[in-house]
Amino acid sequence: MDEVAIKVEGVYKDFRLPHEQAGSIKNVFTHALRSIRKKRVYDTQHALIDISFEIKKGEFFGIVGRNGSGKSTLLKILAGIYQPNKGNVSVDGRLVPFIELGVGFNAELTGRENVYLNGALIGFSKDEIDAMYQEIVDFAELEKFMDQKLKNYSSGMQVRLAFSLAIRAETDILLIDEVLAVGDADFQKKCFTYFKNLKQRNKTVVFVSHDMHAVEEYCDRAILIEKNKIVVRGSSREVATAYTRMFLEQNNSNGQLKTKEKRWGNNAVKYEHISVMPEKLDDSGHFKVLTVAKVNHDVEEAVFGFSVRGTDDKRLFGTNNKLRQKRQTNLKKGDQINIEWRVPNILNTGNYVLDVAIQNEDYTEVYDWWEGASKLLVERSEENSYPVHPTIEVNIKKES
């Protein structure tokens, strides 16, 4: 059980980036001349620096890290697509040779022909595909489309077909790169069922993902790669936490979220001041949003609203005073409107953005629209990876 499936020892990977577009004979000549005078004609980019780890047989192993941290390069080295400059990778067992779904799919071929082509690329002979053809088609739910060209498939259909094929690969070690990022909810459910199945069958899986929820759920252990080095290794929980923290800290040090402040409107009624209390939200049940607005022109009615948005730009919740049945009508120039919103804090640890707006009663006119008016910084004591984190009370009685 404690046998090693993959052993990575001191792996380095450099990419040489030429200063100019090399790749023609002329450049070789000119470079040859130049390199006599000047030594370097290219920059070396270190994609991986001294990477070492072991994956045991039957383990679900996560590799997490930001875009450009080097995790995909590492996966390609594991798959044998790239060669390390230094160090060694030893693999015990058969490894899938692909890192993406649907490799070699050709848009000009029919679904059926692509099944045989992709099947061959992942190692199945024609007879083997013949035997499982019906299963593949049924699983992908594409019976009626198999004789159509792939270019007429929707992207969802292509993914279904590719996934249906990929899960047939009966190898000891699987490499999975971000499959969960594609497909609809239904498809993702199928993926999860498949992963559970892999775990039950004790397959070794290397899983690269941004989705900390999935990493925590499936992975036994994981590594976090940042700036081309392993910075954290341990249980999937530890690594997922470190990853989330890393994002939080970076955002704090930057002072600003990636979403820029945007503001427009005709300024008939305009916010003068916005604040959130307390500054840092923790487990204390509520937070307050305080706004001060000034009326610059007489208006019949103004509707004051706000919403909260995550770093992924998804609006999470919001409301306005009209919806809350506290309408403000007949506003005269010079009036000042102070509003206090009391909001139950269901937000999980992370950074959020507060957007505020003032509009007329039927929302056809924008007085003041202010995206990114304030930031919300939430740090909860309990760690979990759900998108929301309401304080849940629990009462347990044990009777025996």
Binding site: K76, A79, I81, Y82, Q83, P97, A120
Partner: protein
Amino acid sequence: MRQLKERYRYSIILLKQLVKTDFKLRYQNSFLGYLWSLLRPLALFVIMYVVFVRFLKVNYHVPHSAVYLLVGLVMWNYFGEVTSGSIGAIVGRGDLLRKLNFPKYTIVLAGSVSALINLAINLVVVGIFMVVQHVGIEMHILYVPLLILELFVFAIALAFFLSALFVKFRDVNYIWEVIMQAAFYATPIFYPLLAVPSGHHLRQIVMLNPLAQIIQDMRYCIVTNKTPTIAYAYNAGWVRAIPIAITILLAVIAGSYFRKRSKYFAEEI
């Protein structure tokens, strides 16, 4: 040992699918489809026949000059299809190379095999011409598979070299186009070897080219034993070993170059 067997199994599966796909895609959306692999060389043949035999009245000093010409053209076409077709083969599969670890030589081999199938079809046409022209069949015809093997090795050696080189130097296709043009005139395909001046060892030099040796030997074996071969040019039989040695040497060098480079294709494309 088991792993080695497993790897070969994979290569064979891949090769079959790549050849099949190549054939399916090549003539897709064309009205006559597969027929083009026959029609194209035939049309070229008709042009050459009209120009050289009818208009210029070139004297080949051999019987059955039409079949004689066709054999040369068919062999040359195979060579051109394999080498020119191979140049972009690796780069054209870049997408696959970056996502899948597989034996790269299968790409080049697949191109050669599908060209070989075309050659076989073309040779059937040559056979039909032979029957029509009443060309007698002699025992030498048994050498044909060996000559085709030599051509196969010679062409694929260059294909390995060119396709690997093209990954780094994108000028290769232009250079090769020029070389092909020169080689076409340097090989006795549409002109008789005897048209080459006999002085300055010119005929001998022309025949050292494996392609010239193969084409002349092929004509000797299936059309007429009046064909001047390399043995005739040198007046010695052992000289035939030189183009064969060149072919083998080339195959070894190109093969090892391709093997060495193939590890880095994925990151260099």
